[in-house]
Each structure stands twice: as C-alpha cells, then as structure tokens.
C-alpha cells in the first residue's frame, strides 16, 4: 500500500460504511422478494450487517448503516414516507437505541445472540407501538404480540448465530 492510504483514512471508512449499507439494502431487497405468511413477519437479514458493523466499527457506524439501509431500502421498494417506512424507521431506531445501551455491557456477559434478540424485540415492540397508537388505535394487539414476538425470537436467534459465526470467521 502507498502512503495515500493514510490520506484516505476517513474516506475509506465512509466507503466502508456505504459498502456495508449497500449489502444491507441488498439483503432487504432479497427479503422483500421472499413470500411470507404474514405481513410484518420478516427474518430481518439486514440486521446481520448492522450487528457486524456494531462489533467491528462501533455504534455510530451501525447507526449510519442502519439508517442508510432504511432510507435507501424504502426508496428502492417504493415505500418511502409511507406507513411501512415509518414502521421500519421506528423499529430501526428502537433497535439502535437498544444496541447503543447493550454495547456497553461486558463482552463476556452478553454476545451477538443476546444483542440480536433484544434488538429484534425492541424492533417489533416499536413497530407494534406505532400500529396501536397511529395506524390501528383501539385494536387489541395482544394475539399479534405473541405471534410477532415469537417470530422476532426465532429470527433474532438465527441472525445472532449467523453474526457469531461471521465474527469468528473474520478473526
């Protein structure tokens, strides 16, 4: 490598973030093409990227990647500024907030699986919050809560295990 690498240090990080966000957008688009039994139940594959970024580059980078993914993904899917987008944004912000708090816990205490699960719970919690306050006020969401929380548990676990594996491989 030439000395110019040093000059490009900041830009390289920007590029890195953009590349990762693009990967996350790619996963979002792939996910949108998978037929799923219920609207709203998604594996949330893009969160794998968010968690990897959190571990490798820190929380601020994870926020960047996640928000870029939400906006660019919504633009690509044509849901920008629609209720779907608002729910996506609410879920994303909630899981980022959860991750921001959890990342300070010692690594020996909680790993990617725990973080992934709690982020998934925060995500679906915020989304159902949006639904009950704004989209369908007065509707009893309790039966849905069990269903969505169960789905979040499963996808959070699988994504967490994927992240744990990827972090191990990257070492």
């Amino acid at each position: 490598m030439t000395h110019s690498t040093i000059d490009l240090a900041v830009t390289a990080e920007d590029r890195h973030i953009a590349t990762l966000a693009a990967a996350a957008v790619g996963l979002t688009l792939v996910e949108a093409a998978i037929p799923l039994p219920l609207p709203g139940v998604k594996p949330g594959l893009a969160n794998i990227v968010t968690l990897i970024v959190l571990y490798r580059l820190g929380w601020r980078a994870a926020v960047w990647v996640s928000l870029l993914r939400i906006v660019a993904g919504a633009l690509a899917l044509g849901t920008f500024l629609s209720p779907t987008f608002v729910m996506s944004l609410a879920g994303g912000l909630a899981s980022l907030a959860a991750l921001g708090a959890l990342v300070h816990l010692p690594k020996t205490l909680i790993g990617p699986v725990g973080l992934s699960l709690l982020a998934a719970f925060a995500h679906i919690g915020a989304q159902l919050g949006v639904v009950s306050v704004w989209l369908m006020p007065g509707v009893n969401l309790l039966p849905l809560l069990a269903l969505f929380l169960g789905a979040a548990w499963l996808s959070g676990l699988v994504n967490g295990l994927v992240v744990a594996n990827l972090l191990e491989i990257e070492k």
Binding site: L38, I110, G111, G114, L142, P143, G156
Partner: protein, 122 residues
C-alpha cells in the same frame, strides 16, 4: 466449527435473553388461548355475568320464570337447570367454543367464547 459448537459459545446473558424471550412468548400465547375461555351470561339482553371457564362455579340467573342454573366445570359450560317448558338449552349439554345456549322463556343466554380468526387484526 459446527452450529452446535456455536451454541456452546453463548454468553450467560445470551441464554438469559433467549430463555426469557421464549418464556415471554409462551406466556403471551397462553393469554391468547385464554380468550377462548370466556363465558358470558346474559339476562333480558343485558350482560349478567362475564367470567372464565377455568374457574369452576355454579351460577343462578334469575329470570321471569325463575332461576336458570348455569354450571362451569373443568373448563366447560352448560345450563344445568332451567324453568322453561321445553328444556332446549339444558339438552344442549356442554357448550363447544363459540356456541351459545338460549333459554328463551327465561330470557337467559350463555355464550362460550371462541378464539376466532379475526380479519381485522390482520
């Protein structure tokens, strides 16, 4: 490393969240199931009593002809006795979820709640 090896690499907090989350889901699923245990007794078109089929009890519902006796036992509901002449609601026996027993002369209805598919929620 195998997937099983990965599971062994989980931290204590991971297990805590994993088990806690599963417990929460199970708890909520139990709550959903409880919706089918609702029992509503009406008299003269007005709600007389709303209760759960999980609590064994015997309820006396007063009507214009006398007392209609409703029995809840082992998660089931039936009209045990009714002063009406035809005894239709008594012969109906234990109610299936979603069924209603109607003791028309005494103007009593017993409704067994059902956890039905609700399109509004979807």
């Amino acid at each position: 490393m195998s997937g099983l090896g990965r599971l062994r690499g989980l931290r204590p907090g991971d297990w805590l969240v994993l088990v806690g989350g599963a417990a929460l889901v199970a708890l909520l699923l139990g709550q959903v199931g409880a919706a089918g245990d609702r029992v509503a007794i009406k008299q003269g078109g007005r709600l007389f009593l709303e209760t759960t089929a999980r609590l064994d009890r015997s309820i006396a519902v007063p009507g214009p002809l006398g007392i209609t006796q409703v029995e809840i036992r082992a998660g089931r509901v039936r009209v045990l006795a009714d002063p009406g002449p035809q005894q239709i609601c008594v012969r109906q026996g234990w109610l299936l979820p979603g069924q209603t027993a109607l003791c028309l002369p005494n103007r009593v209805s017993v409704e067994r709640g059902a956890s039905v598919y609700d399109s509004l929620n979807y």
